[in-house]
């Protein structure tokens, strides 16, 4: 991984130390913000509206592996030893189903109405560094490209991002090899580092924006010392060192030389083409639109829905689907994510969060498949 920069000067205000993350939540609740924060539900930890600071899943840990996710009790005093859940922030910033507009027909007139719903001022609390990178990549596509999704842009504009730096890596994590974590250095408003129990202070709080500075001023707390920063960086280094998966360095170019590899057919024999990898992926952004009308034919709506390049209808054009075989669909997903994304958007589409590995129902491992492809000769 890249050298970890010293983050002491990243914010405009000196970082502080706080004892309890609930103080930060209470501050935001008092200011009238909606808070979205990781909470336990249906056996997973995912962001959800938080009204009670006690709802944070303190002491819980996620065991993750290919096709495997279980929550268990960890150190009861640790707040943030779980990593990422199945839905993440994408489900909020880029909803799975969204009404785009509705239309009414009266006599000889058609009236269209924008169906975008208001996004209250919101705190995204507990965003992990890989997730921050994913949000930035979706922002580049939806809000900074030639065609702006104004609803997506507004959601981000009206959100404060509070990062939680990772002190623990799951076996599926490979952010260090994608240069997206386990420590975020910019692009957030506030970042919390949960320091080791023997350090003497619980949390280092850093700011990287005016909004973050304002919160730090209000919060109070002791000013962080050099040894607090050193402890935070040590934690991140240790979390990176514990990662067992590493994406091959030359994967972006290497895949282009292996489009006819026999490995694709082998992956396809194990692949369900269910699309779980794409839907769990925090950067995958493909959608479909559906028009619905009522019985009278006088009222119609257009909806946007998450779609997946693994659906057979996804590439259907006159005469049939362009990518009819499962091998072609897996190759499309992997080469776009890891290779063509660079050409299209200037970075990898992968942030190393490991969701595609964990949430594949049959445990296909993106990194292991990348290794196998690279081990095979070129076409």
């Amino acid at each position: 991984m890249e050298a970890l920069p010293n983050t002491a000067d990243a914010g405009m205000t000196r970082p502080r130390l706080i004892d309890d993350p609930r103080d930060l939540l209470r501050h935001f609740l008092g200011q009238g913000y909606r808070i979205l924060a990781p909470q336990e539900r249906d056996g997973v930890i995912d962001p959800a509206p938080l009204t009670e600071p006690e709802a944070l899943p303190r002491g819980r840990v996620d065991d993750q592996g290919p096709g495997h996710y279980r929550l268990r009790d960890g150190d009861p005093d640790r707040w943030f030893d779980y990593v990422v859940g199945p839905s993440g922030w994408k489900a909020w910033l880029y909803p799975a189903r969204r009404k785009l507009w509705s239309a009414e027909r009266t006599d000889d007139r058609l009236t269209f109405r924008d169906a975008t719903t208001a996004w209250p001022k919101t705190v995204l609390f507990g965003v992990r560094p890989c997730e921050l990178a994913a949000i930035a990549r979706q922002r580049r596509i939806f809000a900074e490209g030639p065609y702006v999704d104004t609803a997506f842009a507004e959601r981000l504009e009206r959100s404060i991002i509070v990062v939680v730096q990772c002190a623990r890596s799951a076996p599926t994590c490979f952010c260090a090899s994608m240069d997206t974590g386990p420590r975020a250095v910019a692009g957030y408003d506030l970042a919390l580092t949960e320091l080791p129990a023997d350090h003497g202070a619980a949390f280092l709080v850093e700011s990287a924006s005016q909004a973050g500075d304002d919160v730090l001023h209000t919060l109070g707390g002791a000013t962080a010392r050099p040894r607090d920063h050193a402890a935070a960086l040590d934690l991140s280094r240790a979390a990176a060192a514990r990662q067992t998966r590493t994406m091959p360095d030359d994967i972006a170019g290497g895949l282009k030389l292996r489009l006819e590899s026999p490995v694709w057919a082998d992956i396809a024999s194990r692949c369900l083409t269910c699309g779980n990898c794409t839907l769990a992926c925090p950067t995958c952004f493909c959608s479909d639109v559906e028009e619905v009308s009522d019985l009278s034919g006088d009222h119609a709506e257009r909806w946007q829905l998450w779609d997946s390049c693994f659906n057979s209808d996804f590439s259907f054009i006159h005469g049939g689907p362009v990518r009819s075989s499962p091998a072609a669909r897996y190759r499309q997903w992997m080469t776009h994510k890891l290779s063509y994304w660079h050409d299209q958007f200037g970075s990898s589409g992968c942030v190393g969060c490991g969701r595609c590995i964990t949430w594949c129902p049959v445990g296909i491992d993106l990194v292991a498949e990348a290794d196998r492809l690279m081990a095979e000769g070129t076409d």
């Binding site: 997973v44 096709g67 559906e290 009308s293 019985l295």
Partner: protein
Amino acid sequence: MARPKLAVWKFASCDGCQLSILDCEDELLAIADRIDIAYFPEASSRMAPGPYDLSLVEGSITTADDVARIKDIRDQSRTLVAIGACATAGGIQALRNTADVAEWTRLVYPRPEYIETLATSTAIADHVRVDLELHGCPVSKAQLVELVTAVLAGRRPQIPSAVQCVECKRHGTPCVMVSHGTPCLGPVTRAGCGNLCPSVGRGCYGCFGPVEGANTDALAAQFRRLGLPEAAQRALYGGVTCAAPAFAAARGRHD
């Protein structure tokens, strides 16, 4: 313009899909305003003669009489839509397709000599041309209304073809296989039920039948890793869509 004439037919089935039509309470009056419900014995004693613009056919073909009757219905119908797992896959009664029907008849009926039946229970499309299939056990109310709406508007109905996993992800339902090891047919099953079972933590039973390209071998490999015995895997595919080709083949491989 004359209202389109609707007919609803029943073959071997439990009537649950017809009840789904009656269950469209909010829309039923609006439908009745716009469509002439000409033949629907489950709902009305009025039985107007054909031809019909739209025939909805529930149930599977299990007797020689059924074979003749469905051909007659096809001849009288401009558009014929098979509704439900029985009409599209043969239903639960298609378990007979891999069994000894004569023996089952002896076991079930006190006077088996009164029973005249075919050795198989088959889908409507195995006998006549079907214009569209609505899957499920029962069919989805929303899909029924969409079908009628589309017929009235003269457009193609939007019936999902995606896999059930897409529905779980769109609903934010955590994968039951990954998060608690529950065997689930979702990755090989067509979406459409509205995410009924996974949303309460159950695995999918495959009511809407196999999705296009269902890779049951890949799923079997994961079931084995989860420790699911062969007999349990076979039972999973022995539901209401057991005779759909991809599921029948998967079931056969676990004999």
